[in-house]
Amino acid sequence: MLEIKNLVVNIEDKRILNGLSLTVNDGEVAAIMGPNGSGKSTLSYVIAGKEDYEVLDGEILLDGENVLEMEADARAAAGIFLAFQYPLEIPGVGTMTFLKAAMNAQRKTRGEDELTTPDFMRQVYAAADKLEINKDMLKRALNVGFSGGEKKRMEILQMALLSPRFCVLDETDSGLDIDALRIVSEGVNALRAQNRSFLVITHYQRLLNHIVPDTVHVMAQGRVVKSGGKELALELEASGYAEYRSNEAA
């Protein structure tokens, strides 16, 4: 379970999150929607542990433990995974080298044995196959020369291999065509489990047709202003964010 309590975050003296509270239960898929500039991406980075943000108040508890005290790598080992809106290209770092380093680093932090090469290869090929990632992509440098869709599939592959407890998907639908959206969504749905929860950040209801949420939260002005079931996403699709924008103006 992830609990965010009264989170207040600045970036360069500008208030981005302003007393945000949110609870995502085990096995739950929570969607966060909201207009541009409402602080959605900031929330994802703060959960994952990016350093540029100044957390002034509040807590983020993963199963009761405050992750704000941890470095990004410790949070990852504790089970937090962020699927980036714009996955970074890392020239010179082979995809397989990276995957192995990441999997083993987390295992090491958790006090588990490193994977053997055959075990690692088996896991990667099996997971890659489901996401229609071919071996050629795995041979290339991480995300270098990948299309937008390929990068997002690579994020989901990492998610599958690292088996996190809590996944944040930051606008995973951006830059995806219909087929890629289907593959990525199927990949995410296959990972839904009793002991794993998701925070799906999106502008559009479209993604939520594929990854059907249990709860939907509207974010504006740095906090959650409305919560509901999956029907809330449909309402927003029809009415737009105008109501919340006027709140912002007020």
């Binding site: 990016k50 790598d73 995974f81 890392i90 380093a101 990441a102 990492q158």
Partner: protein
């Protein structure tokens, strides 16, 4: 007369004294040595007011002239080589030099691959071997005090002839190992003459004791026949107090190719000089360097690519990683003579500063007299990308490991060019070892 003496440093005076003793002992005609030393003596140890040595002040760095190392006894040589790690374990024919002297007992002189002929340098000098006419294949080296100092003192080395058309698959490893408890100097000369359409791979490793201010000055002269290929990988893992000077001077025949990649982690001060003379049309060169230095170290790569024929292609890529208070230097000059139309030269120096204390000096120069050429140069300097670090850390890599991975990736670009797979792996292992020492 008195004025002249006062200007000379202790090291310069010491070198003159050493030369007086050595000139009669060293093999070959003394006259050429005399000429070389007179040049050096007139120029002196280069200092920062000499443009080519602006960032690498040898006059300040070389306080004393270290005596030339004697040939080691058999046991000393064996012990020194036992601990040597440069390109160790790689399948290759080995020629071993301990303190600058060829040790026949630790060399595969009898089991050389077909197409290779090797003559010990001292022997070649004494005999007046005809191949020695190929020494100093690039004119500009005559005005280089480091090169001329080597020419004055060169005591040992090898002359390597690759038969025309011979494709020598087995690499030749020139293993230079220093040993001793007090400062010493070495001056080795290796001459490679590759016949037309020949192909040869040469690996060079240089290492020695930590804490001893020894002074190696190594020269590799390479004459590459038409359509011949010379693939060269070099490892500077010298001891941490060494002042290591080295020069490669290569003359490229028509349609020939040279690949030379130098990896540096060793020496308190190193200067690696590259002189390439494109003598025949359509010759190509890949010249890369990867230096990793930390507190107090200075690593200088100085390059001159002289395009004197049509259609030459040169690619130079130098990468420097600086940790703590160290200094990197890259000086690169591409000359395109009027005759050298259709030359394509690209030179790049990238530096990664891991802390705020390091500094990198880049001095790229283009001197172009032909009108139909494509030449360019670039230099970058920066810190590790925080966004990339975050991406890796968000996947569970601790900061140090994420940094290491990015440093490896940065240097990897320069090392990817190495054709010899085992040599490339050995270079990567040196990078990993350097990063591991960083902790």
């Amino acid at each position: 007369m008195a004025d002249v003496t006062t200007l000379r440093t202790a090291a310069e005076t010491g070198l003159s004294k050493l030369f007086e003793v050595q000139r009669l002992k060293l093999p070959g005609a003394a006259i050429a040595r005399e000429e070389a030393f007179r040049y050096f003596e007139a120029a002196g140890l280069p200092h920062r007011r000499v443009e080519a040595f602006k960032y690498t002040d040898l006059r300040a760095a070389v306080r004393e002239a270290a005596p030339p190392a004697e040939a080691p006894d058999a046991e000393t040589a064996r012990n020194a080589v036992k601990a040597a790690r440069g390109f160790a374990g790689i399948e290759a024919a080995r020629l071993t030099f301990v303190n600058g002297h060829l040790v026949a007992a630790l060399s595969d002189l009898a089991g050389l691959p077909e197409g290779l002929e090797v003559v010990p340098f001292a022997q070649a000098m004494s005999e007046g071997h005809p191949l020695l006419d190929h020494l100093a294949p690039v004119e500009q080296t005559r005005e280089n005090p480091i090169y001329q100092l080597n020419a004055a003192f060169m005591a040992d080395g090898v002359v390597i002839q690759v038969a025309p058309g011979a494709k020598v698959e087995r690499a030749l490893h020139l293993r230079f190992v220093g040993t001793g408890n007090a400062p010493f100097s070495t001056a080795t000369r290796v001459l490679v003459v590759a016949g037309d359409e020949a192909e040869v791979t040469i690996l060079e490793s240089h290492e020695g004791p930590d804490g001893i201010a020894y002074q190696p000055n190594d020269v590799l002269d390479v004459v590459i026949g038409d359509r011949a290929r010379v693939l060269h990988s070099r490892l500077n893992i010298e001891g941490d107090a060494a002042i290591a000077l080295s020069t490669i001077s290569a003359r490229l025949g028509a349609g020939s190719h040279i690949e030379t990649v130098n990896v540096v982690t060793g020496a308190v001060l190193s200067r690696h000089q590259l002189y390439l003379h494109f003598a025949g049309d359509d010759a190509t060169a890949t010249v890369n360097g990867a230096a990793m230095i930390r507190d107090g170290q200075l690593a200088d790569s100085t390059l001159l690519a002289d395009h004197a024929a049509v259609g030459g292609i040169s690619r130079e890529q130098f990468k420097t990683v600086i940790d703590g208070d160290a200094t990197g230097v890259f000086q690169g000059k591409i000359i395109v003579r009027q005759i050298a139309q259709k030359t394509d030269g690209k030179m790049k120096s990238d530096c990664l500063l891991l802390t705020d204390e390091g500094q990198m000096m880049n001095k790229p120069e283009l001197e172009i007299f032909a009108d139909d050429v494509a030449c360019g140069h670039g230099a970058t300097c920066g810190a590790l990308d925080e966004d990339l670090l975050f991406y890796l850390m968000a996947r569970g890599l601790p900061r140090a490991q994420a940094e290491s991975l990015l440093v490896q990736a940065f240097l990897g670009e320069a090392i990817e060019a190495v054709s010899h797979e085992d040599a490339r792996e050995a270079m990567i292992a040196e990078i990993e070892a350097w990063l591991a020492r960083r902790g």
